[in-house]
Amino acid sequence: MSANDKIVVDRVAKSFATDQGTLRVLDEISLSVGDGETVAIVGPSGCGKSTLMSIIAGFEPPDTGSVRVDGREQRTPSARGILISQNGSVFPWLTVQQNLMFGLNGLALEEKKRLADHYAEMVGLKGFETRYPHELSGGMIKRAELARALVVKPEILYMDEPFSALDALLHLRMRNELLRILAQERHTVVLITHDVEEAIHLANRVIVLSTRPTTIKATFDVPFAHPRKLLSAPLQALRTAILRELGVDTESA
């Protein structure tokens, strides 16, 4: 753990009570994310990735252990770190502009509108500010959600399978968009995904989780500059290595 760490997850454990007894979901997970770093956490489905994200983002307390952001314990969510999840939470009863202005507190209306429109343009939603989400496509709703998070200038983006609900082509396009935006504005990103390709496309570091009770199985650095060639030999080798940790042997297949 270095002084440059933005987020420190310290021996976080979590269990749930079920009809069959106590289910241990997270087993003393410790990790850290550096300032401005993008860390991807991959794991098999049902391994408690989303529970881990809920705890890191402050929505749920851990049973034991703690999460510290800038050295201070994080017990509740805050606008310094915005969560973007798979199902999305763009308010369907507000227009794109109203959604983007939602989290802007204590500013004059004109300033809120200016900021909202600026970020709408950044994610390619110029001209759609007065539309309601049900009038937009799935990809556009995702962009609106991203813009709503960015407009409050969060230090951290918590992304829980952010693009999983999109089709493959849109998925790839949104990843490139995200990289373009992250190059403009410096954020610390925690990305939860089951998609190894997405992880090595976006992250500086990939953390592989085990099945329940979840522990950290392996950590991989991704020391390649953007734009990354996903089909290049070193990235493919990394992909194979990560998949092997997840129990998928691509070479014998």
Partner: protein, 252 residues
């Protein structure tokens, strides 16, 4: 053009029923039960001497006041009970017990408390429409998806913003459902309430027409007018579903 096509089958059914009614009255040679034409003539008579609009106005006034007060009470109460679990746990059993009591059962108490003026029917309308609206508003708050509440918590907005921009708009579609049910019940109840010792309103018109000389043409005319106005009121409530702030609930 398409709406005309859609209206054709129901209009055809109504035309057939009127036809059967007419034939049945003529064939049976009934002297009391009116033919459709006698009903229309009776209605025209009421329009000409102006009493029909007085009765309609009186009924609508009572429904408007009673229903209006019910909305003003039910919406804040429903939001409060939906949001604050203690309020829900404390008050919901009482409401569930009061709700199945027919508004008609309240008539003797209404007369005891408020006499036979306008206040009694207004009270009965209030009683009948407030419960469905409270229940639907609570339901609207309880069914707000967690992801939206999480997002609101994430952005750390004030309580006022949380209510104005998340809780209330999320619950509005259910509130409108409650208002449609409430207004429908209110319109049912006003007619029944007006049959008790009042001197105006469509309910009074029906009972008075029967009592004062077996004017069944006016009885049936009154019934049809009640049906048409009820249809109109429901249509007005349905227009609310087209508002942009609630459209999201109905498009998929």
């Amino acid at each position: 053009m398409r709406s005309v096509k859609k209206a054709l089958p129901p209009l055809a059914v109504i035309a057939v029923i009127i036809g059967i009614w007419w034939v049945a009255v003529v064939a049976s040679g009934s002297v009391v039960f009116p033919t459709p034409w006698q009903v229309i003539a009776g209605a025209l008579e009421l329009i000409r001497d102006g009493t029909l609009f007085e009765h309609i106005g009186a009924s609508l006034f009572r429904v408007g006041v009673g229903f209006g007060i019910a909305v003003l009470v039910a919406v804040p109460l429903g939001l409060w009970m939906g949001w604050v679990n203690g309020a829900y746990v404390t008050l919901n059993p009482l409401f569930q017990m009061l709700r199945p009591i027919s508004p008609i059962a309240w008539i003797p108490i209404a007369i005891l408390w408020f006499g036979v003026g306008d206040v009694s029917p207004i009270f009965l309308i209030f009683i009948s429409s407030v419960f469905p609206m409270v229940v639907q508003t609570i339901n609207g708050v309880h069914t707000i998806e967690k992801r939206y509440l999480r997002a609101a918590a994430n952005f750390g907005v004030s309580r006022a913003t949380l209510f104005r921009q998340v809780v209330i708009p999320a619950a509005i579609p259910q509130m409108i459902v409650g208002m449609r049910i409430g207004l429908g019940v209110a319109w049912l109840v006003v007619v029944a309430a007006e049959m008790i010792a009042l001197h105006s309103g469509l309910g009074y018109l029906i009972l008075d027409s029967r009592n004062a000389g077996n004017r069944y043409d006016l009885v049936v005319a009154g019934m049809i007018i009640i049906g048409l106005i009820g249809l109109l009121l429901d249509g007005m409530m349905r227009l609310l579903e087209g508002l942009n702030v609630v459209r999201w609930r109905y498009v998929r």
